[in-house]
Amino acid sequence: MTWGRILISRFFIVPIVLLVAIAGWNVYVELHAHGLLQGRVVDAAGHPVPNATVILSVHDFVTQVEKARTRTDRAGRFRFDDNNSHLIQLEAQSGTASSPRVTVRLWFRGQDRTIAEPLRLPPSA
């Protein structure tokens, strides 16, 4: 079998395509896995809630463990810099009010993500 035939055979092309895809994916992961997670907290009327506590919990097989907390700024924005999980839950608290827990699923550990839908506190907040 000549080199030309080997290079155009599926036994060469399929593994090469897979290797290129895997390499490309790993490069993408490397460039987008800083653990940055950001979003907003709003009240029932949609106004930003400053100084609210946002709790980040990590899912395991059966457990859910709190990993980090942060506070919102004056515009109601929050930010976590060191998330290293792919399956997390976020919850906002302000005074005695808590938002529903929001599950965030990421494509890889520590994926940088801006959560489009804000955490919404109930009317009593």
Binding site: R10, F11, F61, H86, R105, W107, R109
Partner: protein, 267 residues
């Protein structure tokens, strides 16, 4: 008309046979329970996060690496040892018929019956909990020896005689003449040894001691003990285990079929 009917019947049988695979795939890309009633024929809210869960919740890359290494060793061993054994069985020697009968008789013995001696031999060589030990029982398989033998039997004797006259030794005849003419048999050996090694459960279960040496089928059993209700992730794992074997089979499919039928029309 008869041709169309036959075709329709074959399509119907194919659909029935592929239905379980479709159901596994469908469950893998949804969060449905496989026993959900009423069942949905099409996936509801399909997503691929179950595959991400499998990748991270258990040491999947480690299992994958172990399975790949063990399968590569098994494939390499099968190609080398089976080709040599198959070629030896095409040559005339005293007791050849007895050896063939002995080998064929051995195919009647189930692997489970020989597992204790196999374990003791592996332990004697100090290969427990090692990649070579994991691949050892599949380094040569009788079925694959006879696939090579059938393929080598189909090569004209005059070609081998010509090679001998040109001064080639037996090993070079095997490498330069027989194997290049037996690519379907090689493909069949690769596919069968890869799939048998990839799916092997009992032997790795017995000889692995550390979790780091476990292969994908053991990982699947371990995963089952963790994930009883999240069926989507479970079936995503099944798909991830099935995919490499399926890929190898699809790549070598045509040569595999030819390899299995080589020698059937000898003469």
């Amino acid at each position: 008309m008869r041709h169309k009917l036959r075709h329709a019947a074959l399509v119907a049988i194919s659909v029935i046979m592929l239905a379980p695979f479709y159901w596994v795939l469908k469950t893998a890309v949804t969060s449905e329970n496989i026993y959900e009633y009423p069942p949905h024929l099409l996936p509801v809210r399909p997503q691929l996060f179950n595959f991400v869960d499998v990748w991270y919740l258990i040491p999947f890359p480690r299992y994958l690496f172990n399975s790949v290494i063990v399968s590569l060793i098994a494939v390499a061993g099968n190609l080398v040892l089976n080709a040599m054994a198959g070629y030896a069985l095409t040559l005339p020697f005293i007791g050849r018929r007895s050896v063939i009968i002995l080998l064929l008789s051995c195919t009647l013995i189930p692997f489970q019956a020989t597992i204790i001696p196999a374990y003791l031999i592996t332990a004697h060589f100090g290969l427990l909990d090692s990649y070579l030990g994991l691949a050892l029982p599949l380094l040569s398989t009788i079925v694959c020896i006879f696939i090579f033998k059938a393929s080598f039997d189909a090569v004209p004797r005059s070609l081998i005689d010509a090679a001998r006259i040109d001064g080639l030794g037996e090993l070079r005849i095997l490498l330069r003449v027989m194997l290049p003419l037996s690519t379907p048999a090689i493909a069949t050996n690769v596919v069968l040894s890869f799939i048998w090694s990839w799916n092997n459960f009992l032997w790795p279960l017995i000889i692995t001691r550390s979790p780091d040496m476990q292969t994908l089928p053991l990982g699947l059993a371990r995963f089952l003990s963790y994930m009883e209700d999240t069926t989507g992730a479970l079936y995503a794992f099944v798909v991830m285990v099935l995919a490499p074997g399926l890929l190898v089979f699809l790549m070598a499919q045509s040569a595999f079929m030819r390899g299995l039928t080589t020698g059937a029309t000898k003469g």
